[in-house]
């Protein structure tokens, strides 16, 4: 699965995207966040303040969204455009 990061989260992680293979027990967007946070402390730093949004294939989704059929998951801070 392809993961995309933007803005402050991209800077903390030091990368704008990566491709990872997820274990079969990772079902929801929330599971993915927990999985990443267990994987490496850098994700804990990026996500621990819980100030982030998730988009699956360019649509905002909640933490309980099932990501099985998604091609691309983007994780980013609250938007500040306009």
């Amino acid at each position: 699965m392809k993961l995309l990061y933007f803005a402050k989260i991209r800077e903390i992680l030091g990368r704008s995207d990566e491709t990872i293979s997820l274990p079969s027990n990772i079902l929801s967007a929330g599971d993915l966040i927990d999985y990443l946070m267990d994987l490496d402390d850098i994700y804990k730093t990026a996500f621990s303040d819980k100030k982030f949004f998730i988009a699956a294939d360019e649509e905002f989704v909640e933490m309980d969204f099932i990501i099985k059929n998604s091609k691309e998951i983007a994780i980013f801070p609250p938007v500040t455009g306009g």
Partner: protein
């Protein structure tokens, strides 16, 4: 007609308004321009705008489509810039046209308010001393 552009280069406001108000259906055209403002405590060197291209395009398009139907617009233009901008540079342009002014005003306000909280753009302020990401305000 809906026109959506996401670009780094400046836009020509006069040309955009001329283009939209040429239609015979437009009794009212409202334009909103959001620009880079200086900071109170220190001088802003530049403002960097990052975006998620594919999703930003989708969100702007959906927002325009919704406003178009909901307020009976005849035309709607949204242009949002990205990259490094300086103080007073325009960031976003929203033009809404409709037969009557109330709809054009309401639609325009809806679009900018919605974009502020839903369109994937992020601002980073660079001053002489530091750089930081802008926090979301209501």
């Amino acid at each position: 007609m809906i026109k959506i552009r996401i670009q780094s280069e400046a836009f020509n406001i006069e040309n955009e308004i001329k283009e939209i108000s040429r239609s015979k259906l437009n009794g009212a055209t409202v334009s909103f321009i959001g620009s880079v403002r200086d900071l109170k405590s220190e001088n802003l060197k530049n403002l960097e705008i990052e975006h998620f291209p594919k999703m930003a395009e989708k969100v702007l398009d959906k927002t325009a489509q919704y406003a178009f139907k909901n307020w009976n617009l005849s035309q709607c233009t949204i242009i949002h810039r990205y990259g490094k901008l300086k103080v007073a540079d325009p960031i976003v342009l929203i033009i809404t046209s409709s037969p009557h002014r109330k709809e054009a005003f309401k639609a325009n306000e809806y679009i900018i308010d919605f974009l502020k909280t839903n369109a994937p753009f992020w601002k980073k302020e660079n001053t002489e001393k530091r750089s930081y990401w802008v926090n979301q305000k209501n």
